[in-house]
């Protein structure tokens, strides 16, 4: 490796640290972590060197690591610009800090190794993510973070955690899938995912979609940026996708520092990274602004009523993330980076110091609030105080801006930030007025505030100009974020109103509130609204509940199956489909193939094979059935008429829906897996029905799907051998009692929910990115099935691995041969899909020739 490639070591070192942590030199001893920690330090030092280098250069650099023949990702490269190197320093610095903190904090904990490994993995993924030079690689690490985070946010032996960490996962995963839709669209429109080329091509592209054939027009770039923004919303906890963040507070305390200082900033970073793309769509930017603004105000208000420290900090973080998004929405992408770093440091410090609260309360106990509030008598001094605290900050702000030579009124963004700074300073003034007796210290404080304000403006300004070398670029972004004048006026009015409301409330704190008009009513209803977190949790709970009830009803009533069956037939009837010209032999072979490669409504055979047979036949048939079905299908696919293909589409869509509902209501673990598999096989059917032939991608998908289903059937079979037939949730807590099994099972689940670096993910990507699929309704269907497969596979993992281990069961971990088999399965799945694909297409072709002769 030449010296120029050293930046790749920055994310690789933590990865290596993660890999060596599970192999302790001495159990439960610091020496295990010292070397890993040194690697983290190394990563930090390397990123410092990189930053120093980047400062001297004035152009954006890409470091090409290797190139290959894959059209989606022709070369794997690292982007070394100012933005990424600053982020690298920030994240690796936090890595060093949190790793050191956790080594002591979790000392002697039974899950210490696992925890440190996941921590290092998350940091490594974060580093990879910020260093990527294309959207595809970025997405790979983006979704890995989703998974690591939801593993980390478990408190492994605590009931409610399982539910909340599921919510974390599913919210983030939903965001991921929106993100990947955006990527697929971008690839379809621009033919590349590499940032620089993407930005150039996007600015030249004028594609416009009309939604569902209606008159509503939406430009390509707006749709893409909007979809990607939903991904950013879920990671950065924007309302209404914010609920996972308070839920994730079940995790060990240092995780919050990582989360609130690192992971959650990913959304802001993503937008900053894609700034040139976002600046092409003012519409998206306005949406970003709106969501950010709502999140900022609402979450910070919810913070006010929390009575425990972690939730207080959680909501405060959500609010700050909202502000970060607002900044992005106004086009100040790099100010957002400045904000997320400042906030990260601030929040991490408070979180790590969380235990201090009781000590502080002991040393300085608070006294219950006395309800003898004074009446307002001294109106003149009150008014002068308010006037002063209102006007003086404005003067300071203007002066400091003049001093720094920033043009204030040139763009909307600056004015709005000015308003926020004004709110802050005037709040400080108000406090000064109320508290301070000595004039000297008051003046001193005023000077200090002006000084800090000026420093802050100076720092923020120079930071922005440091990140983007070209000042015109910054101006361009701000212009793109500019609001229509009416909207701008509205926003300013709202902010000013809010600031006034803030004063009104500060006034309440010191004077008798009940005397004010509507005081009690306002106070009670707003308080309740905030205490119940805007009832959002309640609403989502209700939705989940009704979904569950529907699912339950589906499962119990067999007549619904008939309804499911009737819909496609009716459809056919109305389409007046005829199947003349199809030989009976073809139809029979097709039906046989649909029996083996389960297709609704004749998936029952496959289900029975997996659930009812004994162990050995089950294992053999689980791999033989899909293979045989594929072989049969291959021989007849070219002869199937177009109506037939449409029939397949309808049946597989209905089948997917049916299987998903069935899966979610199963109790026996094997039928759970078999229905889950049926839903996933429907994707294959959808794709071939759309294409009319079997594409390489779909073969890749099919292969990896079959292998992973086999692996799960095998793994569960081994559990059944040990503990008898069991229902979901019957044998929990394997994380502690069967570590080898758990590790391998987690890998299988990673495959099943379509996570890289496993081949099912590449199968999905191959399918989604192919031209025939990307703009069709099948695309939505596949994304939905993918989403629900994540849903139930993650639930299955939780039900087996987490929770409290039962005391009446003697647990026994996997033996050597079982481990070996599962390792082989996982290895098969990790081989990049193109290799499998090339190999397969070769064998399949020769097989086809052979079978063609035999038929």
């Amino acid at each position: 490796m030449t010296l120029n490639l050293y930046p790749i070591l920055i994310p690789l070192a933590p990865l290596f640290a993660a890999l060596i942590t599970p192999f302790p030199v001495r159990k439960n001893h610091f020496s295990n972590y010292v070397f890993s920690w040194m690697l983290m330090v190394f990563s930090f030092l390397a990123s410092l060197v990189l930053l120093a280098q980047v400062i001297q250069d004035h152009e954006v650099k890409r470091i090409v690591l290797f190139s290959w023949g894959w059209s989606l990702l022709p070369e794997v490269a690292m982007s070394v610009d100012r933005l990424s190197s600053v982020m690298l320093v920030f994240i690796s610095g936090f890595g060093v800090l949190l790793y050191r903190y956790s080594v002591r904090y979790l000392q002697q904990d039974s899950g210490h190794d696992r925890y440190q490994t996941l921590l290092a993995l998350s940091i490594s993924s974060l580093l990879f993510m910020v260093a990527c030079a294309d959207l595809f690689m970025l997405f790979i690490f983006w979704q890995l973070l989703t998974f690591f985070l939801s593993l980390l946010s478990h408190n492994y032996s605590h009931g409610p955690t399982i539910k909340s960490s599921f919510r974390t996962f599913i919210t983030l995963r939903g965001g991921d899938l929106m993100f990947v839709s955006g990527i697929a669209l971008a690839y379809h429109l621009y033919g590349t995912l590499e940032f620089n080329i993407l930005f150039t091509r996007a600015s030249a592209d004028q594609t416009v979609f009309s939604i569902f054939g209606s008159g509503f027009q939406i430009s390509g770039v707006t749709l893409i940026t909007f979809l990607i923004f939903i991904g950013a919303m879920s990671k950065s906890a924007q309302i209404p996708l914010h609920m996972w963040l308070p839920d994730s507070l079940f995790a060990p305390t240092p995780i919050h520092a990582l989360l609130h200082a690192g992971l959650i900033n990913a959304g802001g970073f993503l937008l900053a990274r894609l700034a040139p793309l976002y600046s092409l769509s003012s519409t998206t930017l306005h949406i970003v602004l709106l969501i950010g603004f709502l999140t900022a105000i609402l979450a910070t208000s919810m913070m006010l009523v929390q009575s425990d420290i972690k939730k207080t900090l959680g909501y405060s973080t959500i609010g700050q993330m909202g502000f970060m998004m607002m900044e992005c929405g106004l086009g100040a992408f790099h100010l957002a980076i400045f904000h997320l770093m400042a906030h990260g440091i601030f929040k991490a410090d408070i979180f790590l110091n969380i235990g201090k609260g009781i000590q502080n309360a002991r040393i300085n106990p608070s006294i219950p609030f006395k309800h003898t509030k004074s009446k307002i008598t001294d109106y003149p001094s009150l008014i002068s105080a308010f006037a002063f605290s209102l006007l003086f900050p404005l003067i300071i702000l203007f002066c400091s801006h003049m001093f720094l030579g920033i043009h204030l009124l040139d763009n909307h963004g600056s004015i709005i930030f000015l308003l926020f700074s004004w709110a802050t300073t005037s709040q400080a003034m108000l406090t000064l007025f109320r508290l301070g007796k000595p004039l000297k210290s008051k003046i001193g404080m005023l000077l200090a505030i002006s000084f800090i304000g000026t420093i802050y403006f100076f720092a923020a300004e120079s930071f922005i100009h440091f990140i983007t070398i070209n000042p015109l670029e910054v101006e361009g972004y701000l212009l793109a974020g500019a609001l229509p004048f009416n909207m701008f006026l509205l926003l300013v009015t709202i902010i000013v109103l809010l600031i006034t409301l803030g004063w009104y409330f500060s006034l309440f704190q010191f004077y008798d509130i009940e005397k004010f008009p509507l005081g009690i009513w306002l106070k009670r209803s707003i308080y309740l609204l905030l205490l119940n977190r805007l009832y959002l949790d309640h609403i989502s709970e209700q939705i989940f509940h009704s979904l569950r009830m529907i699912g339950k009803n589906f499962n119990q009533k067999h007549s619904i199956f008939i309804i499911f069956l009737i819909i496609p037939i009716l459809f056919l009837y109305f389409q007046k489909a005829t199947f003349s010209g199809t030989s009976l032999e073809t139809v029979l072979i097709f039906v046989a193939s649909a029996l083996c490669l389960p297709l609704f409504p004749i998936h029952g055979l496959y289900i029975n094979v997996v659930t009812k047979t004994s162990r050995m036949p089950r294992l053999c048939l689980a791999i033989f059935f899909p293979g045989f079905g594929f072989y049969l299908l291959n021989s007849v696919i070219s002869e199937l008429p177009i109506e037939f293909l449409r029939l397949i589409t309808i049946f597989s869509a209905m089948g997917a829906l049916w299987a998903i509902i069935k899966t979610l209501t199963q109790v026996s673990i094997l039928s759970f897996i078999s229905y889950a598999a049926v839903a996933l096989y429907s994707i294959f059917w959808l794709v071939i029905a759309q294409n009319g032939y079997i594409s390489d991608h779909s073969i890749g998908y099919l292969c990896s799907l079959t292998i992973v289903v086999w692996g799960m059937v095998f793994a569960m079979g081994q559990l059944i051998m040990r503990y008898g037939e069991f229902e979901i949730g019957d044998v929990p807590g394997l994380f502690k009692t069967m570590p080898y099994f758990s590790f391998l099972f987690v890998l299988l689940i990673m495959v099943a929910i379509g996570l890289p670096p496993f081949s099912l993910f590449f199968g999905y990507i191959g399918i989604l990115m192919s031209n025939a699929i990307v703009l069709s309704s099948e695309f939505v269907g596949i994304i939905l099935i993918w989403f629900f497969s994540c849903w139930y596979f993650f639930q299955m993992m939780q039900s087996v691995l987490f929770g409290v281990a039962r005391e009446d069961i003697l647990y026994k971990d996997l033996g050597f041969i079982e481990i070996a088999i599962l390792v082989i399965v996982v290895t098969l799945l990790i081989i990049p899909v193109n290799v499998v694909l090339y190999w397969l297409s070769f064998t399949v072709n020769s097989f086809l020739i052979f079978s063609g002769i035999s038929l």
Binding site: L97, S102, Y105, Q107, D109, S110, N155, P160, P246, L249, F250, T253, P254, I297, T300, L304, V305, Q306, S307, D308, I309, G314, G319, Q320, F323, F338, H339, M341, A342, H343, I345, D349, L352, N353, I354, G355, R362, N364, P365, P368, F420, T424, T425, Q427, L430, T431, L435, P438, M445, I449, A460, L498, S506, I520, R524, S525, L528, N532, G724, I809
Partner: protein, 922 residues
């Protein structure tokens, strides 16, 4: 309220009070009080109390059997002790008969031992058929199962549904709903907001009207309450008297009155942390927050029962279309088909057990082929009558025997050794009075080994219950054990001649406060914090780095740096206040000093320097910091008490009076106050200004010795702490303990009181030179100077009770870290400045965290009941026990083990039991 209502009201109060016995009290964590979580069950025998608590709280009162077996493997529980414990169990439950199998005699005790050591349980019935199919001994098992002729009778469950589960729990288990979870979450929400002591920026409105009213006035405006339909209307219609709600809802649910107590206990146990905190608040009406915002269990129960009742009704209507009350439940239960496991699999289970038993006894399995069914059943009865969950008491007995034997051996050999020594009445270089705390023991031992020092142990508040206000604070702290109330008010004042510094400090503090408040007001707002964080966030970077990477430096430099800003002032303790009631009059001062000195037996042979050493702990970012401080000073530092004691004892007037009372303190004796830092073992000396120059040389020499002792103790301490090298040099050890005291990521700054197991009341000679491993409370007492036993009674009713509380807190936190303890520290979340929850939403955690009691999977603290050794004649002890009912109940119900050490010709040790009285130990 008319008279019948009033009567009902009083009756309900009585019922709720009785029902609350299982949850006890929970103090706010700001002054962590070590206490027995089930202290109100101390009136019944120990094992029974544990059973009772287990029933309601679903807790565990002993270590798991697996843990005890581990102790056997490590050699901590010796087989001889196990045998003795088994014998004692057998003698209580029958005789040690035996069964003869093919010429081989198998005794009952053997069977029990095999059962204890291996745990003879069969796989659950669901699994057993499948497992046996592949088992090597399949034939044998089937053979035995055919032979068993035993009749299987369903063990009638005497408990009714009301005693077993609440209506909501029944719904959950029958219909798979999550009512309990929902009700709990709702109550956590309201309790958290109501009980908040200054955390929330916007507190719950209307709290001054009390919990129930505050809830009612808000909840009736709630859009949706806990999924109850029409909740607004229903809550609006509720009576404004919580008492009538409780009665009404219990009647609606159809709970018969005689079971109200059990039913309420079940409800309180559901969130026992919050409930026990409310219980504590309601019993402390003087507590400021309680005065301002009253709350009690009846208000809590009113809300809880309202939720339950409505939800149960709703669920029952929905699921089976019947009324939601116990009538429905009982009829549903009786109509439900009882799931009787097949006799066949029961028999299989039993034959499995027999086979396992024979294996563990080391007997050839095949001899069972010739056994008669009756013999087999005998074996079975012995195994089955002692289910795995009933092993605890025997294990505990064996566990305790090991410790007691060891301790008695140590004391015995030492006493013999001391007896050989002729007592030399040489004046010691210095005398020191330490707290009885178990952490004083190693330090005292190490100090005594260095020079001619005499040490004493006395409760760390030095007998003077005071309320103390430090010069820079405005609030008072109660400097005495939680079992008594402070009787006097004492302030710290600034010594004269420091006006300039004082003025400067005041200004600096004002500015600091201003900065703090300004920053807070920017943070706690809904528009202001954004720009503030952006501007100020960066400044936290330094803090973050310093605290993580340089904790030792932080600990060393934080004080000097602070001193530059706020100059340290010389202060002294001011005794006399204006308030005559709380005044510490001269007579009282004399009594306190005299009692103290007489109690510990320091009435003659005074040294020139007498150090009065309080103690405090130093740790960072630790919510349990108060638990590490001096328990005798109410979770505070012992410094004020020590300084007060010294001030009084150095007063010439007092000394004159003492002389007339028979305690002649020489004029050249000087009391000096000091503070022992239990994390780093540093000893800081206070009020040096008052010490005449003549003593300074000696004091310096003493300081050097104290430092030497500290270093020895550091090394000893590091050997026990996890994550340290066992072979530290003194220098490394010192560095390590300083790091621990300042490291914000350290969850075990020190072990604290973990390991405590015994309480020795007696002269130091008894344990001089004996290594007690920091597990013993040492209270000095000389019975020769207390013929009446008056001081002994003081000790036994004061420090001993506190010791038992500490011991019980550790005991139960170890046996059940989730129910009685507060679980893992890494998840803790401080709520309302009063306690911790695990994660964002949970019960208020009680007790000690896992980190205090365990290392990894193994418990560090050995859960043993307190062994009390009193060096005094049996008669005197017996008299005290007879006089003091609470003490009597502790001893007779086996919450503590009581021993007496007597001297006749040899040392003799007697053990007190309720059954046998005083029995001599061989």
């Amino acid at each position: 309220m008319n008279s019948t209502q009033e009567e009902e009201f009083l009756e309900l109060i009585n019922i709720v009070d009785k029902a609350s016995h299982v949850i006890g009290y929970n103090w706010p964590m700001t002054y962590f009080v070590h206490h027995n979580p089930i202290s109100r069950l101390e009136t019944i025998p120990f094992h029974k109390a544990i059973d009772l608590a287990n029933h309601f709280l679903k807790s565990r009162g002993y270590l798991s059997n697996e843990m005890y077996r581990k102790q056997v493997n490590t050699g901590r529980i010796k087989i001889e002790h196990l045998n003795a414990a088994i014998q004692s169990y057998i003698s209580k439950t029958g005789v040690d008969n035996s069964v003869e199998l093919n010429g081989k005699e198998i005794k009952r005790s053997q069977v029990i031992r095999a059962h204890l050591l291996n745990g003879i349980t069969a796989p659950t019935c669901k699994q057993i058929n499948e497992i046996i199919e592949t088992h090597q001994d399949e034939k044998l098992i089937r053979f035995i199962s055919k032979k068993i002729q035993k009749k299987y009778v369903e063990r009638a469950n005497s408990k009714l549904v009301y005693q077993k589960m609440t209506a909501a729990e029944w719904c959950d288990s029958t219909f798979g709903t999550n009512l309990v979870f929902r009700v709990n979450n709702e109550l956590i929400k309201w309790c958290g907001s109501f009980l908040d002591e200054g955390h929330a920026i916007w507190p719950l409105p209307g709290r001054q009207k009390g919990f129930y009213e505050a809830w009612r006035s808000l909840a009736m405006n709630e859009w949706s309450t806990c999924g109850i339909k029409n909740s607004k209307k229903k809550i609006n219609e509720l009576s404004n008297n919580p008492f009538s709600i409780v009665v009404e809802k219990l009647n609606t649910l159809g709970v018969p009155k005689e079971y109200w107590q059990d039913y309420i206990s079940l409800h309180l146990a559901s969130l026992h942390g919050w409930a026990s905190f409310i219980n504590w608040r309601s019993k402390n009406s003087e507590y400021e927050w309680q005065k301002a915002y009253p709350i009690d269990l009846i208000q809590y129960l009113g809300i809880r029962l309202f939720y339950e009742c409505e939800l149960v009704e709703q669920t029952c209507r929905h699921e089976i279309n019947k009324e939601g009350n116990f009538k429905t439940i009982l009829s549903f239960e009786s109509s439900k088909l009882k799931e009787i496991l097949s006799i066949e699999s029961k028999k299989l289970e039993d034959s499995w057990k027999i086979l396992r038993l024979l294996e563990f006894l080391g007997v050839d399995k095949n001899i069972i082929l010739e056994a008669t069914p009756i013999k087999m059943e005998d074996l079975l009865i012995w195994v089955n009558e002692l289910e795995e969950k009933e092993h605890g008491p025997i294990w505990l007995d064996a566990f305790e025997r090991g410790y007691i034997d060891d301790l008695i051996f140590k004391v015995n050999t030492n006493v013999n050794y001391i007896a050989e020594k002729t007592s030399q009445n040489q004046r010691p270089s210095a005398q020191m009075i330490f707290c009885i705390d178990v952490r004083s023991e190693p330090f005292r031992r190490n100090l005594e080994s260095i020079g001619n020092y005499e040490t004493y142990g006395f409760a760390g508040f030095f007998g003077i219950p005071i309320s103390f206000c430090s010069y820079d604070k405005h609030h008072f702290t109660a400097q005495c054990p939680a079992i008594i109330h402070p009787k006097h008010v004492v302030r710290e004042v600034i010594r004269d001649g420091q006006d300039k510094k004082t003025n400067k400090n005041e200004n600096v503090e004002k500015v600091l406060e201003l900065i703090n408040n300004t920053f807070k007001s920017m943070k706690n707002h809904f528009v202001a914090p954004f720009a503030a964080v952006e501007a100020f966030g960066w400044f936290f970077g330094w803090h973050l780095i310093e605290r993580t990477f340089f904790p030792g430096v932080y600990r060393k430099l934080s004080k000097p740096l602070k001193n530059i800003l706020v100059s340290p002032l010389n202060t002294e303790i001011m005794i006399n206040q204006d308030n005559a009631n709380l005044d510490l009059s001269e007579e009282k001062q004399i009594t306190y000093i005299e009692d103290a000195l007489r109690t510990i037996g320091l009435t003659e042979n005074f040294a020139r320097l007498i150090l009065v050493v309080g103690h405090a702990s130093l740790s960072d970012n630790n919510p349990y910091e108060a638990a590490l401080n001096c328990g005798a000073c109410g979770g505070n530092s012992g410094e004020p008490n020590s300084r007060l004691f010294t001030k009084i004892a150095n007063n010439q007037k007092i000394r004159q009076k003492l002389k007339t009372n028979g305690i002649n303190i020489p004029d050249n004796t000087r009391f000096v106050s000091a503070l022992h830092n239990t994390t780093t073992d540093e000893i800081q000396i206070y009020d040096i200004e008052d010490i005449p120059e003549a003593y300074l040389k000696e004091l310096n020499a003493l300081k050097l010795d104290l430092e030497r002792a500290a270093v020895i103790n550091n090394v000893e301490r590091c050997k026990k702490l996890p994550g340290t090298n066992k072979n530290y040099t003194p220098k490394q050890a010192k560095k390590e303990v300083i790091r621990r005291s300042g490291d914000w990521s350290e969850t075990r700054p020190e072990w604290g009181l973990s390991g405590n197991a015994s309480f020795i009341i007696g002269r130091r000679d008894l344990t001089l030179n004996v290594n007690l491993n920091g597990r013993t409370f040492l209270n000095s007492y000389d019975y020769t100077k207390d013929p009446e036993g008056a001081f002994l009674q003081g000790i036994m009713m004061g420090p001993l009770i506190v010791g038992q509380w500490i011991n019980a807190e550790h005991y139960f936190s170890t046996t059940d870290p989730e129910i009685f303890g507060s679980g893992n520290k890494i998840y803790h979340n401080i709520v309302g400045n009063v306690g911790v929850m695990s994660g964002p939403q949970s019960d208020l955690r009680v007790g000690l965290p896992l980190q205090t009691t365990t290392i990894g999977e193994i418990n560090f603290h050995e859960p043993l009941r307190l062994c009390v050794f009193v060096e005094a004649p049996r008669k005197i002890i017996q008299d005290i026990i007879n006089r003091q009912a609470s003490l009597k109940s502790l001893c007779q119900n086996e919450w503590i083990h009581l021993f007496s050490i007597e001297y006749s010709i040899n040392t003799e040790i007697f053990r007190y039991t309720a059954v046998n009285g005083w029995a001599k130990i061989q």
